[in-house]
Symmetry: D2
Subunit: 487 residues, 4 copies
C-alpha cells in the first residue's frame, strides 16, 4: 500500500485551492446571469479562471469555465448556454504550476450520486492523503486540485442520499473550506468547523443567493439574511433552507483576520463588521500605538486607503492621494507570473512629486510581505524630496505560512520572518516604522463585541488545524514558490 | 441497484467509439513525429479529432489533442511539447452529440496502475453495463465514450501488474476493439476475439510501430512484421515483443468485410490481401454476375474507382473518369453536420457532360446507403445526355445496423432495408441495377485462401457478438441518427 | 467638382480622431518596449486599440496594431517583431462605428516621401473637405479617420523634403492636433496653433521621448525637458532637436481645460501645473463658492477624488471613500458599447452603507454629462440612509459639443444643455447642487500665473477654430451618438 | 524622378498576381452565397486566401476576406455580413513573401470613381513602372500586389464615367489579366488582348455570372453563354450585357496552353474544348509519338489521370491506379512553404506495390518541373519490383519562366532548362522517357479547329508580351523562388 502511495506522489502534485470566491443561486430563472454578476463582485478573490455550472433540475448540468476574468469568460453567448434556475460559480487564483483550465472550478462530475458540481474556497490540508487512499481503491481523478477529493468521497457513498454523502465526505476532510455544491434539485453549502473563509446567505426575489462576500449581494439587490456559521451545513431546495448540521460554538471559530486587513472588499460586511470601517479603526489604533510628527499621511493605494484615512483623522494630519495607481493592471498580489510581476513593480504606482516635496510623510500600507516594493517606494519618496518617510502598517509583521487559503510566499521570503523590526526599518531606509499589534487588530475587527475567534497564524504561528507535516508539507512547500513576490 | 443504474442512464449517453484509427510507437526518439505521420496516413478513418500521448519513461505523460485534422492539430509547436520515445495516437470520427474535445483520444489518466494512455478503434457493446457497475462502486468518469471503461476496470486492479490488469479488463469487455495502451515503460496492444477491426505490427528502425492499416507503414518506411491476430494481446518493452495472450483460431474470426469494400485505404494490405486488388476483383465478380451491354464504365470516385476498373476490364468496355471530385471537401461519409452534408450533395462530384453524352453508361459504386445521392447522380447523367444508366454496386444491399464500429444510419433509413432490389431500381430511375452477392464478395476478399472469417452483419443480420438489447440498444439507437446521410 | 464631393460623402463617413494618446522614441535600442510602457501610462486616453511602428533606419518599417488594451496587444512576441531605435505609438478611443482595426494608428504608408508612420491626437475639423479635394485629384484612402489626410497631403509634395512636406500639410490642416510622425531617419512632432491637446518632450538616456502626458515620463525615468508649445513643429534626428517652426504667442493658446478637470492623469504635469493639485484647487474654489453644512464629503471615484479632498479640507468636513469602485471595469467614459455601459451603471460603484447612514453627505463629482448615473447615485445614497445629499461639481455645466478631440454626446443629450441648474437639482433629487464657475476653474488651472489661454467651448460655446458647419457638421453630428452615456 | 523611383523600389516589392480564380455575380439576391459556391469550384486556382465583396447598389460595399480555403473563410456568419445582389470574388495563391491578408483580393477602395472592388487573375508586367509613376504623382498604395495599379489609374480619371476610367486604365496596363470589377451599380469585366487567362460568362436565373472556369457554372446550374474573348471588355447592369470594347482577332490570341495541360479543372470547358478530353487526346498523341512495349500504364494522380487513360487506350495496355493519393493535402503545386512541401514529397502518393511487381510500367505525368519527385517515384517503382519504368509526359519540356500568371520556379531550377532530354532520362533513372511535342499538344487542344492561338512561352521562350527586363525583372526574379518545388 505504501509503495502505491509513493507512486502517485511522483506523478501528481496536488494544488491547494487557495484564494477563491464562490457563489450559488437557487430558484431564479436567470441563475447564470446573476451568478456572473456575483462573481464579478468577487473578482478580487481570484483573477485567473472563472466558471459557472447551472441546472434546470431536469436536463444534464451545463457548465462554462475558462481562464481569464469574469468579463472575459462570460458574455451573451456563454450565458445563453447556461439555462436553469440553479447555479454555482467560482473565481480562482492558483499557483503557476496549475494555472490551467482542467483545474478551474466548478468541478462537475457524474457519479453514483448523479450529477454534482462543486465550488470551493479554502485549502483541504489532508487532500494528498485522501487522494492516495481513493486511488488505492480504484478511483481516477480528473484534476490536480484538493477540491476533487470531496466529490470522490461522495461517489463512494452509493445508495446514500446526497446530504448523507456530503456530511460523510466533510467528516473525512480537514482544513479550510467554504463550499457550494449543486445536486440535481438542490444546493448544499458548508463552512469548515473553524470558519476560516467567509460565506453569506441572502434572499434573491423568490430564491436564495450564497456568496463569499456581501459586496456581491449589494450588486444584485439581494437581501442579506445571515452568515453561514463555522461548522454549519445547509441545503436549499423547493422547501426553503434546511440546516443539515448546526454551527460550532462561536468561541472555537478561527476566521482569517487577513480578510479584514487586505483580502476582502472594503464594501463587504463580515460577521456584522464592515470591512472599510474595520480598516479605518486599524488606522486609528495604529496612530495611537505609533504616533509621529508629520505633515502628510498618504496611503499605498488601494488597500491602504482606509487605514490611512483613519490614521490621518486620529493624528490630525493632512491626507492626500499622492500615489496614483494605474488601474489597467490587476492587483499585484494576484499576478501569477514573474514577468508580469516585474512589470508591475515599475508600473502600478506613480508618485505625484509636487505633493510630497519638502514634507514629512507617513505612508500607510496594509502589510509588508517581501519588502521589495516597500523599499522601492521609500526611495521614490526620497527622490521626490520628502524630508522624512515614516512607514505604518495596519497589521502585525507576517512571519508564517498560511495553510488555510492565502498564498503567501515561502516563510523564508517573508521580510519579518528574516529580520527583527528594527532591522526592517533600516532595510527599508525609513525614518520610523510601526506595525499594529494583535490586540489592536482584534479590537479593530470587533472581536470584543462579536465573541468571534480569529486565525492569526500568519502573525503568530498558532495554527488552529494541524497539517500532515510528512506527506503533505513537502508537496505544499514545493508549491509555495514565487508568490506575493511584489509585496 | 437497479434504480442507481437508471439514474445514470438519464444523465450520461455513452457514445460508441466507432470509425477510428490508432497508432503506437515504441523505442524511437521521434515517437511523436512518427505517430503524427502515421495518423496522417489514417486520416480517412476519422476526421474530427486527433491526439497523441508520449512518454520518455521518466516524466509524466505529455498529451496533445484537439478537434480537427491531423495537419491542423500537429505542428512544430505541438510536437515540441511531446518528447519521448513512446507514443500512442488516435484519429476519431464520432456522432454529432459527442463531437467534443473531452471525448477525443488518447484518454490519459493517473490511477492505481500509474499513468495510462489509451487509444481505441471499435465499439464495446457492454460499455453501458460496465459503466453503471463501476459508478455503482464509486468511480467517476471523465468522458462519455465507451473506451474509458477499460481504464476504470484496470484502476480497480490495485496491486496487480499492468499486464494482469489489462487482461482482466479485456475479460470483462465485449464487442469490437483494436487497442493500443501506453503504460510507464511499455506499450500494450490487443484485438478483440473476433478481430473486427484491423491492427498491424511493424519494425521501425530499432523500435516498433503499430497501426490500424499498413498504408501507415509505407509512409514511415516501417517494415511490416505481421497483423495482430484476433484475440491476441501483446506488449512491447525493452526486451522486445511479448505475447500476453495467444490468438483465437482463425475460423472464429469475423473481420469487417466493409473495410475491404469501402473503409480501408486501397494501398493497405489486410491479412495478406491488398485492398485495391480486392476491389478490382469485386468489380470482375460483379461484371460476371450482372453483365450489361454498354459503351462506358465510370466509377463513383474515389471509392468506386477500383471496382469500376475491374468491371471495365472484365466486361471489355471503355473506362473513363467522367465524375470529377472536388477534393477540397473531406469524405462525405465522415462529415458530421447536416449543413456540410447538404452542401456536399451538390458540390462533391461534377460530371464531364461531353464524356457521357449519347452513351450507355455503367456507374460502379461501392455501396448505396440511403440512395439520395445515387438517385441524384442518375438524374445528372440523364440530363447530360446518357442514353442508358446502369448501376452496379460492389457489395450486397445494406440492410442492418453495425454494432462493431461503422456508423451506418438507422436501419429505417437504409434504402435496401426499406425496398426490394427491383423497387430500388425504379426509385433510382436506373435502366438496371446489380449488387455483388456475398459469395462473390467473399471470393474477392480471398476468404477461400486465407480461411479468414468475416462479419457480414450489415448485409445479413448475423451478428457475431450479442449486444444488450435492453439497456444498451435504446441508447445506441438514439445515437444513430443523421449519419451516412449523403450516401 | 461639387457633385464629386457629394458622391464621396454618401460613401465615406470620416471619423474625428478624438481621445487618443501618442508617444515617440528616438535613439534608443529598445524603442518598441519603451513605447509600450509609454502607451501603458497613457492607456486612460484610449482603450480600444493600440499600435506601435518602429524603424532601424535601414529596413522597412515594422508595425503592430490591434484592438484591445496595450497589455493585450503587446507581449514578448509582438515586441520581438518590432526592432529599431525609433518608434511612434498610439492608443485610441473611437466612436462605435469605426471601432475597427483599419482605423487604428499609427497609420503607415509608402509614398513619394518614402515610408511614413503617423500617430495623431486631436480632431482635424476640415478633414472631409481635404479628403474630398484629394480624392478629386485621384488619391485613394485606406482609413476613414481624419488623420490620413495629412499623409496624403505630404505624398503630394513630390521632390520636397519630408520636413517641407510636413509643414505644407499642416498649413492645410485646421483644428486640434498633437502629432508624431516617423520618417526614414527622423521623428517629426507638432502641436496645432492653439495647442488644444498636450505633448511633452523628454530625454531618454541618449535619445528622446515624446508623450501626450508626463505620467509616461515618470514610468520610463525619462527626464522632462519641456512641453512642445502651441504651433511649434520640431524634428528629432542624429543631430538632436530642431525647431522647424516656432510656437505661437502664448496668449493665443486654447488648451483644453477639460484635460485638467477629467481627462489627464492626476500625476501628469501640464504647462507647469500638476493635475492632481489643480483638481484639489478646484475643490477648494468649489467649497468657497458653494459652501454647505454637512457631516461627510465623499468623491465619485476616481475622477472626483482630488476635488473632494480639496473641498473637505477647505470646508473642514470629514472625508471618506464611501463609494467603492470595481476596478475590473475600465473607465465608463471610454466604454463604447451600450451593452457594457448598461452593465457598468449597475456595477462600477458600490456604496458602503454603514459610512453614510444618518449623515448629511456632500458628493463631489468632476462633471455631469447626461445625469443618468448622477441621479442613480443620489437614490443610492438616500436608500442607504443619508439624511441630506448635496452635489458639487468641479467644473461649469456642460452645454456644448467639443470639436477638438473630446467625444461628448450630442448636445441634446447633455443635461445642462436641456435644463437650467435649478431644474437639474430637482431632476437629480439633490438637496442642493453647485457647479464651479469659469473664473474659479481658470484660477485652479493657474491661468493667472502661466498666461496660458484655455478652450472652454464645452461650457461657453466659444469655439477657437471655426468648423465647416455645412459639409462637416452633418457628418460629425451623425457620429456623435451614444457617447459619455454613463455620465 | 528616377531617383524617386529607385527609392520606392528599395521599400516595396511588387508581387505578380499569379494563379488566381475570379467570380462575379450580377442580379441575384443571394449573390454572396453563389459567389462562395463559385469560388469553391475554383479553389484549385488558389488556396491561400479567399474574398468576396458585395453591394446592394445603395449602401457601402461589404467585404470579407481572409487567409485560408473558401470553406474556412465563408460560413453562415460571414455570408450574413454580405448582403446585396452584386458580388465579386477571388481565390489566390501567392509567393511566400506576400502571403498576407493585406494583399488578398478583392481590393476595395473609395476614390473619385466612388466605390470599386477588383478581382484579378494574371500578371501585369509593367506594374512596377506604373506604381512608380503613380506614387510620383502622390498616390498612396494599400497593397504590394500588381492589381492595385488599375484602381489608382481609374482614380486619376476624375469626372470620367467608370467605364471610361476602366478602359483608360486598361490602356496603360500590359500583360495578362482576367478582371472583374464591381462599381456602384454594375459589374465590369475584361480579358487582356492576348487572352492569357480564361473567363466565361453565364446566365444565372435573372442575373449573370462570370467565372474563371466553367466548372463553377455546373455547380450553380448557371447556363453557359460564352467565353469573354481576348481583348474584350464588357459591363453588366440593369439593362443587360454591354460590350465596351470588341475582342481582338482570334489569330492574335495567346491562351496559356498549360491551363489545358495542368492548371484548369478537367470538368471545365475552355474555348469549346473540354479539358479532360483534351488531356485524353494528349495521352493518345503521346502514345503515338513515343510507343513502348509495356504491361501496365499508371498515372501520376490526379493531374496525369486522363493523359494516362488516353495513352493506355491508344497503346492497348492495361490501366491501373497504382499510385494512391492522400487527399488530406492540397495540391503540391500550390503549397507555399518549404516545410509543407517537404512533408508532401513523402506523403502525397503511396504506391500499391502488389500492382506493379514484376511488370513493365509506363508512368504518365502532366509535367516535370524540378525532377526531384519524378526521380523519387522511379526509385519507388523499382523498389516495389517493377521490371521496367518508362516515363511519358503530356507536354514538352519546361525550359522558361512564365510572366503571365503561372508561378514556375526560377528557370535555373527547371530540370529541362539544365539538362538535355537524354540526360534527364539517366537523371531520373528511367528505362525511357518521352515528352509530347508542341504540334501534338496544339492538336490535342483543338487549335486546328478553333483557330485559337496559344502561349507556349514556358516551352519555347517565345513571349507574346515584352516585359521590362531592367526595372521589373530583378524584382520579379527575386520573387520567383521556392515555387513548384515538389514537381
Amino acid at each position: 500500500m505504501r509503495s502505491t502511495v509513493v507512486r502517485y506522489q511522483s506523478v501528481v502534485r496536488i494544488y491547494p485551492g487557495e484564494e477563491c470566491g464562490v457563489v450559488a443561486v437557487y430558484g431564479h430563472p436567470n441563475a447564470a446571469t446573476l451568478a456572473t454578476y456575483g462573481l464579478y463582485a468577487l473578482q478580487h478573490r481570484g483573477e485567473e479562471s472563472a466558471g459557472i455550472a447551472t441546472s434546470d433540475g431536469k436536463h444534464p448540468f451545463r457548465i462554462q469555465k475558462a481562464m481569464g476574468l469574469v468579463s472575459q469568460v462570460f458574455d451573451s453567448t456563454s450565458l445563453a448556454a447556461l439555462p436553469g434556475q440553479m447555479a454555482v460559480g467560482h473565481v480562482r487564483y492558483s499557483t503557476t504550476g496549475s494555472s490551467n483550465l482542467t483545474n478551474a472550478q466548478p468541478i462537475a462530475v457524474v457519479c453514483s450520486q448523479g450529477e454534482l458540481a462543486l465550488a470551493h474556497n479554502g485549502d483541504i490540508v489532508n487532500a494528498s492523503h485522501l487522494r492516495a487512499r481513493l486511488e488505492g481503491r480504484g478511483s481516477i481523478f480528473q484534476t490536480t486540485t484538493d477540491s476533487e477529493v470531496i466529490l470522490h468521497l461522495m461517489a463512494q457513498q452509493v445508495g446514500k442520499s446526497v446530504e448523507q454523502a456530503f456530511l460523510w465526505a466533510l467528516d473525512q476532510t480537514e482544513g479550510a473550506y467554504s463550499l457550494v455544491l449543486m445536486a440535481k434539485d438542490k444546493i448544499l453549502a458548508a463552512r469548515d468547523p473553524h470558519g476560516f473563509r467567509p460565506l453569506s446567505l441572502g434572499r434573491l426575489e423568490d430564491g436564495y443567493f450564497l456568496a463569499s462576500e456581501t459586496c456581491a449581494f449589494d450588486l444584485l439587490h439581494a437581501q442579506f439574511l445571515r452568515d453561514i456559521e463555522p461548522g454549519e451545513v445547509i441545503s436549499l431546495d423547493a422547501d426553503g433552507v434546511h440546516r443539515l448540521r448546526p454551527p460550532n460554538p462561536i468561541e472555537t471559530s478561527a476566521f482569517c483576520i487577513f480578510e479584514y486587513v487586505y483580502f476582502a472588499r472594503p464594501d463587504s460586511t463580515i460577521h456584522g463588521i464592515n470591512v472599510s470601517q474595520a480598516r479605518i479603526q486599524m488606522g486609528r489604533e495604529l496612530a495611537r500605538l505609533h504616533p509621529v510628527e508629520a505633515d502628510l499621511v498618504i496611503p499605498v493605494p488601494d488597500s491602504g486607503n482606509y487605514a490611512a484615512l483613519g490614521f490621518a483623522e486620529e493624528a490630525g494630519v493632512a491626507f492626500d492621494l499622492a500615489f496614483v495607481r494605474n488601474h489597467y493592471i490587476g492587483r499585484t498580489f494576484l499576478q501569477p507570473t514573474q514577468l508580469i510581476r516585474d512589470f508591475n513593480v515599475r508600473i502600478k504606482l506613480n508618485l505625484v512629486q509636487e505633493s510630497v516635496r519638502g514634507k514629512r510623510v507617513v505612508v500607510v500600507d496594509d502589510s509588508i510581505v517581501r519588502g521589495t516594493t516597500a523599499r522601492a517606494r521609500v526611495a521614490n519618496l526620497r527622490e521626490a524630496g520628502a524630508s522624512e518617510v515614516h512607514i505604518r502598517v495596519s497589521c502585525p509583521p507576517h512571519r508564517f505560512a498560511c495553510h488555510y487559503g492565502i498564498d503567501f510566499p515561502d516563510p523564508n521570503s517573508l521580510l519579518a520572518n528574516q529580520l527583527p523590526v528594527e532591522r526592517i526599518q533600516s532595510y527599508l531606509n525609513a525614518d520610523s516604522i510601526g506595525y499594529l499589534d494583535i490586540a489592536g487588530l482584534l479590537r479593530a475587527c470587533g472581536s470584543q463585541h462579536s465573541g468571534m475567534g480569529f486565525c492569526t497564524a500568519c502573525f503568530t504561528g498558532n495554527y488552529p488545524v494541524a497539517f500532515h507535516r510528512g506527506l503533505y508539507k513537502e508537496i505544499l512547500e514545493k508549491n509555495q514558490t514565487a508568490r506575493l513576490a511584489a509585496k
